[in-house]
Symmetry: C2
Subunit: 418 residues, 2 copies
């Protein structure tokens, strides 16, 4: 393509861009937030503990008063079923799994995991499969932890690289979103889970931070199976390797849900010691609401099935526009079977510009680079699309704008380089 | 008294002890927990956000979704009125003010307050007015912070000592429960508050941890006035000195309430940075419940008035038994106008034995020594009585047991020493 041809095409796309911009879109797609229709499926939750319902847990605890640091037995059992582990391996806590992860890293820094505080042997390094979740990386940055990017494969993190990197005793942790990963929607294969459970890190206080955020968050009638990691670790005589996290944030209400940490009893004992200094206990009334609503894993699963007809059309709408507008352009995208995101790789060197153009057109996307440590995508190509909030018609308009922006950014680059 | 006389009296008290023990008391008075009747005054709270009520805050935020790290505007305003500060100085957070205090100390350790992380200049010391709150001291122990006991006076901490001690740049913090202190029920005088606000510590990152746990927790129709500390600090050109904490744990439901931190905007900015790594936001639905129930300070106050006829008889029952059984014995106790505790000073060297005897008789008290740093009461004489949970009849039986135990422990000591 000549410079003149590129300029002419760019002009055409700019016209299309202005047309869509003229619609006055004002859409925030930065975060994975559920739409109002999904939230609406949960309203009965709020009525399940009230002035007329009783307020005792199954063991007779008055949920209105202090106590029960580990959370209600019925809530711990529910998480254990969901996460594939034993009830005594679970602490059901407050509203935020991110808070539990932050606190677990803080525990490592100030007190360690059975060895010296991480602070006392600098530098500390974490393995960060990328693209990944920006808030994981932000926790590392906050504590001055050096991040080592590990490539993602369609089966999970590049385990050859991981097995080599953990031979460095400064490597104390690794972030994982093992099911329907953020942002690519990848579920770790059995082989990958087994290799993780059998890691032999140089640092005996190395921990895998297993963020099982999308453990039952399917977008179709079939789930992608994930091998439960804690029994795998036990089988591998590596029981203390993994700290697992989850929450009901995208099951009931973000912010008003229940979060949990699950781990070996020795890890749980250590985390509980910290927690016992930190709080008297979690919001048991909110836990009681959740336990009453779902009762067991089957109850949870049938609840999640109600989201599929609300979420699938959104994901399908995004994919349909991408296929129609960008097929054969070199741009690639995921078509996940679960989770909350679609990951798009645009032409290298153009992601930042695409996000900038979308913003100009009224659609705020997750910042380009956010899916990599320190917000720096080495190829400047990955963009995370969060389709769960807007209604389908707005999503379609947003993705049309996005597609035009992708073409414009590529043509601008071509013009500059030719 | 001769040894024989003491032995005879001891035998008599032992008989009385066995009589009360025979009642089969089984009472846990270790913690300041509200009784079921107090909790019952709050049941309408649970109905204030439900499937039929709407779920938006006053600024139109959908409380069911992510966001609003600082908490709902109406909840921040409510705390600001309660604490005597500006709304923008408040973050309304999760369910536990202890968690906010722990996190603020953790912030100091790993990141500091505008200077280097506290970890980097060991040792770190905190001033601990005592008797005080055991969980404050436990946070210090957890982080390896050296505790310096400061005597309490009827007006608050011994400020001559405090002013001298803060000249040591290793002193980075000080715990205060300024109103109806735990356990003595002391409200800091205006002079003390003014002297605290005007402290000139050697460490510019010294912070006062102002735990305003009982700010509106009166036991009579009159409140003991407490000078609002943040305006005082501003007036003294010392705006960043104090971090204030409070919660609704003993206003609505312990564990299912809302906690807050209030401080200068520069401190709040610093804490917010940490929080933004730690969580997406607090449980806004629970904040909405609380804001709807109370609306403003007047609403809060009229709610608290309903507790007085439930709490005052409990405190009066404890005092009445102490007066009847122990007047003139050298044992002293407080008669607080608010808060959650009565503090008793038994004969030096006998507090541990009194608690042990009560346990044998079926009444578990807060461990002797718990009100001092590291759980060590240098005179082994202070015992914290928590009268808020049991009904009056059980309290009377418990205090009769307690009084006999106090006499027995004193007579045992006399026998041993004579």
């Amino acid at each position: 393509m000549t410079k003149a041809e590129a300029a002419a095409l760019l002009k055409k796309e700019r016209t299309e861009f202005e047309r869509i911009k003229g619609k006055g879109l004002n859409l925030d797609m930065t975060r994975g937030k559920p739409g109002a229709d999904l939230l609406g499926e949960n309203m009965d939750l709020l009525d399940l503990v009230g002035s007329g319902t009783g307020f005792k847990s199954e063991d007779g605890t008055d949920c209105r008063n202090y106590g029960i640091l580990d959370g209600l037995p019925e809530m711990r059992r529910l998480f254990a079923e969901m996460l594939g582990c034993k009830t005594q391996q679970v602490i059901a806590a407050g509203n935020s799994s991110l808070n539990l992860m932050f606190d677990a890293v803080a525990q490592g820094m100030t007190h360690g995991f059975g060895d010296k505080p991480w602070f006392s042997h600098q530098p500390i390094k974490f393995l960060c499969p990328a693209p990944g979740y920006d808030r994981h990386f932000a926790v590392c940055q906050h504590f001055g932890i050096e991040m080592i990017t590990v490539d993602m494969t369609p089966d999970g993190p590049d385990m050859d690289a991981v097995e080599k990197l953990v031979k460095d005793s400064a490597v104390k942790g690794m972030w994982c979103v093992p099911k329907y990963s953020n942002p690519e929607g990848i579920t770790y294969s059995e082989v990958v889970v087994r290799r993780i459970a059998r890691l032999t890190p140089a640092a005996r206080d190395f921990r895998v931070f297993w963020d099982n955020a999308y453990v039952i968050h399917d977008l179709t009638d079939e789930t992608e199976p994930l091998l439960p990691i804690l029994p795998e670790c036990e089988a591998a005589a590596n029981p203390d390797l993994v700290l697992m996290f989850a929450s009901t944030s995208k099951i009931t209400f973000p912010g008003a849900g229940v979060a949990a940490v699950a781990a070996s009893e020795s890890n749980i004992k250590l985390l509980r010691t910290r927690m016992s200094m930190q709080t008297i206990g979690p919001d048991k009334i909110n836990q009681l609401r959740h336990a009453r609503k779902f009762k067991d894993l089957a109850g949870l699963q049938s609840h999640m099935e109600r989201f599929i007809p609300l979420l699938a059309p959104r994901f399908n709408a995004v994919i349909a526009v991408l296929e129609r507008e960008l097929s054969g352009s070199g741009v690639t995208w995921t078509n996940p079977k679960g989770g909350y995101f679609i990951s798009v790789d645009v032409l290298p060197g153009t992601a930042k510009r695409v996000v900038e153009l979308c913003k100009e057109g009224g659609v705020t996307l997750t910042a380009a680079g956010a899916t990599f440590p320190c917000g720096r995508d080495p190829r400047d190509r990955n963009i995370r699309i969060a389709p769960t909030l807007p209604p389908v018609t707005e999503l379609e308009a947003a993705m049309e704008l996005f597609s035009v922006a992708v073409k414009m950014a590529a043509l601008e680059q071509l013009s500059a380089n030719s």
